[in-house]
Subunit: 310 residues, 2 copies
């Protein structure tokens, strides 16, 4: 069995829209348009956190972030949202799509998605990274927008878990609390409320919130191509708290990407160094950095005997 | 416009089959089954070389090698060939598929291809390389086979041409001889007969033969993802003649793969070093090595603004 861990993400800012007031039924329906469903919800005074069958949704009064993986159709949710809050009331729109392990299994490509989005709003489509290497597709609205000075996002996308992390997430204990503790996920940040889910036979998702901050983790531990994503809005303009180092120490990936919106992480993380980085100040107000990190050593392996064929 | 340069390849050995005697019409039809067509033919006493609209075909009396790119359906040609020479008369079968830039545009995946092939012959499917990095899919017959001691193949797959090479092949002179001379393609080996073709608006293919040796080059210079392949059977058990260094100096790729069948190229080529290598002695008698090379330096770039959307 193959599960596509690579994610799509949409962020929409609409000041004065009172998004949290739309209620659970609205958000649950929106998520289902993307072919995912809500598993559970937690909240603070500032943000509602929904854990999904395929990733996560966070809703503040003036914005939401919807992340989905697997074979979801995120643009269907965007089109549905435009019926409730018309596009001319959106201050900012950003759509991201990480290149997939198996794009041929997806129901649409980035090109398809951009064509649909362009029939609703004008925007610019970019590819951050070489076409033959890890890369991020990003489409953003052209409307002028000035992010708040503290508005930053850090995404860490991790590939091919090694060592203890591979074993722990590949054959996790059936107790979520034990998994969280053994992995050290309760130590990434202090004081967050956590909502997590262990999928059967494997896979793990975690949403965590504190005030208006969030972090979220999605683990696809499949032996034939493991993948983990981490994302938070609790980061400085540089990663002085060493979040990237802490998170990659938990998952021990063979390689990883770091994506910063108005935050510039280091170009070296432990033994890993940024082999390529792509950066641009976008017209929508965010400076976006995409960096791909690899270990400095060469790796010699046996080929993988493909056994998943039915 | 996007063109998929990444190739599929099939090699079939059938001693005593007298393959060259099947005639041009047979091979031309076989190529068309794969959705390609013959452009021209040259030959020596040992081998027939066909230059195709999508790559190349080489036919010896006891074996053939068919390489196709674009949106071709190579397995259709294999199935057709089995009608002429039944599978039980094949001594060796190897099918290779390089991971594509855009697999979602292909008419079949490696999984699909292997399912069809397995309905005709038993074999083993491997992936050489990590799923999230450059990798080669390979399916081989399980029948015992002992290759001749001089039977070696060297493949060099090159990504993202830089500098002069990018300019020369991106905007080539309309005269093939001039292109060949300026690129230095006439200096890779001595004494080969050359048959080449310059595609409109871009793209270049070359077949070259001498005795029973061949080399072949296919250039897909598209700005949004350039790709070049080189392949030859004129190589020692190690690359003491420096073929990899000579060929990569011509095309100046950002990164490249070297694949050896019973030949072990160096793990360092100029400034480039093998970041990962995968090797295995297959049951069909070949020791296969897949190495991915990258430059030692980091690369900082701007994102690519996607303009090809219609």
């Amino acid at each position: 069995m193959f599960f596509e861990g690579s994610e799509k993400k949409v962020e929409i800012v609409a000041h004065g829209a009172g998004l949290r007031g739309f209620g659970e039924a609205f958000w649950s329906d929106l998520v289902e348009r993307a072919r995912a469903r809500v598993l559970s919800k937690i909240y603070t005074d500032q943000v509602d956190s929904y854990l999904l069958s395929e990733s996560s949704l966070f809703v503040w009064d003036d914005r939401f972030t919807l992340i989905t993986c697997g074979r979801t159709t995120l643009v269907d949710a965007v089109v549905e949202f435009a019926k409730k809050v018309p596009v001319d009331r959106w201050d900012l729109f950003i759509f991201e799509l990480k290149n997939e392990y198996r794009p041929q299994l997806q129901l649409s490509s980035f090109d398809d998605d951009v064509k649909r989005l362009k029939s609703h709003l004008s925007g610019r489509p970019y590819r951050f990274g070489a076409i033959d290497a890890h890369h991020l597709f990003l489409f953003h609205s052209e409307k002028p927008y000035r992010p708040h000075s503290e508005d930053r996002t850090l995404e860490i996308l991790m590939y091919d878990l090694q060592g203890d992390a591979k074993d722990l997430f590949g054959k996790p204990p059936r107790d979520k609390l034990e998994l969280r503790r053994r992995a050290g996920l309760d130590k990434v940040f202090d004081g967050f409320a956590i909502d997590d889910f262990l999928f059967d036979p494997c896979g793990y998702s975690l949403n965590a919130i504190r005030g208006d901050f969030y972090f979220t983790v999605h683990v696809t531990p499949e032996e034939n191509g493991s993948y983990v994503s981490f994302e938070t809005n609790l980061v400085g303009s540089t990663d002085t708290d060493g979040i990237v180092e802490r998170v990659t120490a938990i998952f021990q990936p063979r390689s990883f990407d770091v994506i910063g919106f108005n935050c510039a992480p280091a170009s070296r993380v432990g033994d890993f160094q940024a082999r390529s980085w792509v950066e641009k100040k976008l017209d929508c107000g965010y400076e976006v950095r995409f960096q791909h990190f690899e270990a400095p050593w060469s790796q010699k392996t046996e080929p993988y005997l493909i056994q998943e064929l039915r």
